[in-house]
Point group: C2
Chain length 233, copies 2
């Protein structure tokens, strides 16, 4: 490989699909663009990779700048890179996209880059003409990755607090998969999946009814057997 100037220069950015569940809907954090191209449209949080920065470092920095969360608690997973010619009308730009899941969608931190950031329902954002650049494609891939990972990993537990009830966990699956799940069947499945849930040893009363037992994530890297959509069909 010879590096000469006959090869094009690129800008490299990171864009982050930050998902949460708010008001019983899957939502993503977005910022409204103030300038052309795509002025007025929504865009995923992101920005340029700095000269001495690794790709993950850049994603962590952007996440910190644009949300109120302590990034130490958040797992960033590389989603994919997007580099079609013309995806930015001005330059050749490759975006390395990342996926993060937050519990409850904390308010974006005022005074930061993200002063204009908002949580918007994913269904709204994926509507025609709402997102800038190819961000609808990136968001779509992020949502699909999260949906798939609910089946075979403990990702659902990242949408809830460290300690949660089975009903709260079920709500994550219901929102992500778009349909109700039988509570008894769900409870049996998740509490019998090795390494998925760990009993905290306390119960809470949330709303009417009996107190509900609290669980935390049991640390399993993969769920065996997986919690497939067809399992509950």
């Amino acid at each position: 490989m010879v590096y000469t100037s006959r090869y094009p220069f690129f800008y490299v950015t990171v864009d982050i699909v930050i998902l949460t569940i708010r008001e019983d809907a899957l939502a993503a954090l977005v910022v409204q663009r103030g300038e052309e191209p795509f002025a007025g449209r929504w865009a995923l949080p992101g920005g340029f990779v700095d000269p001495d920065e690794d790709l993950l470092e850049a994603a962590v920095r952007e996440l910190r700048e644009e949300t109120a969360v302590a990034t130490g608690d958040v797992r960033l997973e590389q989603l994919a890179s997007f580099g079609a010619p013309g995806r930015d009308p001005r330059h050749r730009v490759v975006s390395v996209a990342w996926l993060a899941v937050l519990p409850h969608g904390p308010e974006p931190r005022a005074g930061s880059d993200a002063a204009g950031a908002e949580w918007k329902p994913v269904d709204f954002l994926l509507g025609e003409g709402r997102l800038a650049f190819d961000h609808a494609e990136i968001l779509g891939e992020g949502v699909e990755r999260a949906r798939a990972k609910l089946e075979y990993t403990g990702l659902a537990t990242e949408f809830v607090d460290d300690e949660f009830t089975v009903a709260e966990l079920r709500r994550v699956y219901e929102v992500m998969w778009g349909h109700r799940l039988d509570p008894g069947n769900f409870h049996r499945k998740v509490t019998r999946t090795p390494g998925f849930l760990e009993r905290v040893g306390r119960a809470v009363t949330r709303g009417p009814g009996r107190p509900a037992e609290l669980f935390r994530f049991g640390g399993a890297e993969v769920l065996h057997p997986p919690l497939t959509r067809s399992t509950f069909g």
Copy 2:
């Protein structure tokens, strides 16, 4: 996002982890570097993204230039991007890595870019100081992705011919997982996994013993239940 020259320019390359099974070992296609840096070391096939080329197009072109296979039959899956500062001592280079699996490791095409390409066992290549740049990390991720996908997708069928015996398929799992599997148990599991295998309706005699039935991939997107390593434990 404002694009100004205070952001660094990057070169963008594609590198391809091309895996096959040869002589009962997992092997990857590599080229020997003729010049510094890393002269004499092995490197994954790859190169610069052209000015008007999408990332996938670049990977398909490199695969075609460096192997003898008809790329129409090969699925290229994006693996991850690697962009640590200093991964190339000369420039800031982001590599978008791809994964491809080929049956039998066809001989690299003479006269092409890949005249010097060779199949080398993955265990050899992952040894200290064998691969240039961060290609050991990239290869390691490619192998891990392939190993994981054997469990829940039909990826194993890409290592064999379009029509194959269950023993040939078992050999793929044995090589990838590094241990023998009980033939009867394996046969039962794979033929009962919905959509994994489809009967061709013919049998072949390969070596001593009874003729073995031929199968082709049944097209399932995911294997339910998955063929986990622990399934055979």
